[in-house]
């Protein structure tokens, strides 16, 4: 279960505002002013969140001096999702085996009850 940037990615995703920003960017690129609008937050506060997202590789920012539009970088988000999927599958498969094992445990109990 090893992936290089996973902790940075997940830490960036830890904040609901940042998740909401990513959700907004999934609908298309946007600049800081546009991103700040739905939140009751100052532009510097939003900029701080954007820096965390950018460092985590979850977004990239344009070079145009003023607006610097933000773009969602899908690859990093996909890595995180894939890790979650593997993790979920791990437990699903463990539960498959638990189900099989419970059949054995139940039979054992029945046998023990009969022998008493």
């Amino acid at each position: 279960m090893r992936t290089g940037h996973l902790d940075t990615t997940f830490a960036a995703l830890a904040d609901p505002t940042r998740r909401a920003i990513l959700a907004r960017l999934a609908n298309g690129d946007a600049n800081v002013t546009e991103l700040a609008k739905p939140f009751d937050m100052s532009q510097p506060a939003i900029s701080k969140h954007l820096k965390v997202l950018e460092r985590a590789g979850l977004i990239s920012r344009g070079r145009e001096a003023q607006s610097r539009p933000c773009r969602l970088e899908a690859r990093r988000l996909r890595e995180a999702t894939e890790w979650m999927e593997r993790y979920r599958r791990f437990w699903e498969e463990s539960f498959d085996r638990l189900g099989e094992y419970l059949v054995i445990l139940k039979q054992k109990e029945k046998r023990n009850a009969r022998n008493k």
């Binding site: 090893r2 996973l6 902790d7 904040d15 609901p16 979920r88």
Partner: protein
């Protein structure tokens, strides 16, 4: 924080055709856990379970290619046969708090596992932000890309 930001979680549910007492029991001893915890083709090379609040567990799963996958942590709250809470290392020092609940109905047991991940990186260390997510929610975003 925006009020409509969802607090998503990783939740797994499974119904077992066995009484709750037995499903719970399967989590409490190494002899049981070693029989089901490691998904195929992994095998349980080491399995220690100190089943009490604060007690540690330590598993090592062995893959056919020789790789060992350790999983270790400690139990928190234990309410037999209803609930088990444990904290375990899931990824490079990052931990997940897991709550497993057992509910019996007409001889069958519904097991619900809820996991909250607390990932920290250099960028957020000290901030102690926990997060939980559903795959579904992230998947939703991905379909839009």
């Amino acid at each position: 924080m925006s009020p409509d930001a969802k607090k998503p979680e990783l939740v797994l549910t499974r119904v077992f055709d066995a009484p709750r007492r037995l499903v719970f029991e399967a989590w409490t001893k190494a002899e049981h856990v070693s029989r089901w915890f490691a998904p195929r083709p992994l095998t349980m090379a080491r399995c220690e379970v100190d089943f009490r609040p604060g007690g540690a567990f330590r598993f090592v799963m062995h893959a056919p290619d020789g790789t060992d996958y350790p999983f270790e942590g400690a139990f928190g709250e234990i309410v037999p046969p209803e609930r088990i809470v444990f904290t375990g290392t899931v990824h490079e020092g990052n931990v997940a708090v897991t709550t497993v609940t057992f509910v019996e109905h007409e001889g069958k047991t519904t097991l619900t596992m809820k996991q909250t991940f607390a990932f920290e990186s250099d960028a957020t260390r000290g901030a102690k932000q926990g997060w939980t997510m559903t795959l579904d929610q992230l998947g939703e975003h991905l379909t839009k890309l």
